[in-house]
């Protein structure tokens, strides 16, 4: 039982990362109707921007609370959020927008975004090499929650940050004019335009918010695992599984979907060999597509 609970705790940590990543993926799809296959690689890019700030520029500073990192990491998160917001808008304006305007088919768009992902990986590898790095080297002690169930302070940070970001997203989407306009655009873009909303502005804001979510998710992934270029791409499939599970376009569904995917993957290792763990999201995805392709919660934001 303790073993299972430990895996659930671990699943909640990974689920936070997949959940926030999926939230960005589903939000940009719901509003811009663009399935961004570069999403995972942008998460990886976030890790390296943060790595550049805290390690290459040496801004980490002494550790705070019982975390493995210092205040510099908070600075890195803030800066990366801004940079990726700008980066996401730029990619949309330079590449995706033209494809949307030409009403390119979905395969063209998927390949284009896969291409963007490959370019990101190549550029990052050019600067930082293909080897995994750590924000902070060494082993970080876990602390007990109860009995033998352990959690690292960094992991508590990841869960707490996910809760904060979720509350911010909820406030944004339901209590601000921009958020309501985003939901209206997701619901019915033509009617939103006819109501006087400038759709191009809404799309730009959506990409910016997606970029910000990706920045947070990517850095959390770097903290939890390592700073390694393939990690983001490897999460793409679990994220798509979470998005479909939660109902495409539904950010809360995607968050819950992220937890379901991650917790079931982790818990599965109590019975099956760890090597098969990456297959679990696949199985969930396939079952969902057959049984309930519209997701558990439907597509509305």
């Amino acid at each position: 039982m303790e073993e299972i609970l430990q895996l659930v705790v671990f699943g909640i940590v990974i689920g936070s990362i997949i959940g926030l990543g999926s939230m960005g993926l589903t939000l940009s799809y719901g509003i811009t109707k663009f399935a961004n296959f570069a999403h995972g690689d942008i998460m990886s890019l976030a890790m390296y921007i943060a790595y550049f700030i805290v390690v290459d520029l040496g801004l980490m500073g002494p550790t705070v609370f019982s975390l493995s990192f210092g205040w510099g990491m908070f600075l890195a998160i803030a800066v990366t959020i801004i940079l990726l917001a700008i980066f996401s808008i730029a990619i949309d304006k330079l590449i995706y927008k033209k494809l949307r305007r030409d009403k390119s088919n979905i395969v063209t768009m998927a390949i284009a975004s896969l291409g963007v992902g490959i370019i990101i990986r190549a550029v990052v590898t050019m600067f930082w090499g293909p080897f995994a790095r750590n924000f902070v080297p060494g082993i970080h002690e876990a602390v007990p929650i109860t009995g033998n169930i352990l959690i690292k302070p960094d992991q508590i940070f990841i869960i707490a940050l996910t809760i904060v970001v979720t509350i911010v997203m909820y406030y944004l989407l339901y209590h601000t004019k921009l958020g309501k306009a985003m939901r209206a655009t997701a619901d019915n873009p033509d009617l939103a335009a006819v109501s006087g909303i400038n759709i191009n502005n809404i799309l730009a804001y959506t990409w910016a918010i997606t970029g910000a979510l990706t920045a947070v998710a990517g850095i959390m992934l770097g903290i939890q695992a390592q700073v390694y270029i393939n990690l983001g791409f490897n999460l793409l499939l679990p994220m798509f599984a979470a998005v479909i599970l939660g109902g495409i376009g539904n950010p809360w569904g995607a968050l819950i979907g992220g937890f379901v995917v991650a917790i079931s993957s982790e818990v599965s290792t109590a019975w099956i060999a760890t090597g098969y763990k990456p297959a679990v999201p696949f199985v969930i995805l396939i079952i969902m597509l057959i049984v309930r392709p519209r997701g558990i919660f439907g597509s509305n934001i």
Binding site: A186, N188, D190, L191, A192, G196, N300
Partner: protein, 239 residues
């Protein structure tokens, strides 16, 4: 004469296919003008072209004496025009109040007053203000669609089949509201399948067939015209 809207030889369509050809119509303030015509005649296409949702191949659209051809819908809204599309004319996943907030998106002041006005005009909506719009009945949906379009106090309202799929009682209700709105000084250009009923509420009418204006007269004259009656009104009645 105070023409708030005038199309001049307007030609438009989808992609490079021409659907409406050489359309010249006008609308004055406080006037109710109805466009009737068979299915597929290009009625919805005409309103979409006026509202900046389709490319204009030829001709011009003037709103309050200025050309709006080539402007996008949000610019046209900011000039004082509103449009209620034929289908999907509400945001089903948003609450009633949120639908109206989106309608008033470009409003910078007196939002609450305008919201209260709409709830007075459509008391049914006030009772459900925090419910999702997808819970509304057909008549309430049409009311919400109208209210959304009125949130910016437009001077012109384009309505694409406001009474479609409504019960006779609800149709009556919606037409009454339309008259109330016009009485406030709003010019209303509407498309209707319930041609006879709509024309009785209207000042003038156009008959659109095959993408061209086939007939134009006062509403009374059209109702009295045996030829038009047989061709268009009779056909509608049989359905």
């Amino acid at each position: 004469m105070n023409k708030i809207l005038e199309t001049m030889n307007l030609t438009s369509g989808y992609g490079d296919i021409t659907i409406i050809d050489n359309i010249s119509i006008y609308l004055e303030s406080s006037e109710i003008v109805t466009i009737i015509g068979p299915n597929g005649a290009g009625k919805s296409t005409l309103l979409k072209a006026i509202f900046g949702m389709l490319p204009i191949f030829n001709g011009d659209v003037k709103f309050k004496e200025n050309s709006i051809a080539g402007r996008n819908p949000s610019e046209i809204v900011s000039l004082g025009a509103s449009f209620v599309p034929q289908t999907e004319n509400i945001f089903p996943s948003l609450s009633i109040t949120e639908n109206l907030e989106i309608g008033g998106y470009q409003r910078s002041d007196n939002f609450q007053e305008q919201l209260d006005k709409m709830f007075q005009l459509f008391p049914e909506l006030a009772k459900k203000s925090n419910e999702k719009a997808s819970n509304l009945s057909g008549g309430q949906r049409q009311s919400l669609a109208l209210a959304r379009a009125l949130m910016l106090d437009p001077v012109m309202l384009l309505l694409d089949e406001p009474s479609a799929a409504l019960s006779p009682v609800m149709r009556q209700f919606i037409f009454e509201k339309i008259k109330e709105i016009a009485a406030l000084g709003v010019g209303i250009l509407m498309i209707e399948q319930n041609a006879e009923e709509a024309l009785r509420q209207s000042d003038r009418g156009y008959v659109l067939a095959g993408g061209k204006i086939a007939f134009h007269d006062t509403a009374q004259a059209i109702l009295a015209n045996p030829e038009v009656g047989q061709l268009f009104l009779g056909i509608q009645k049989e359905k």
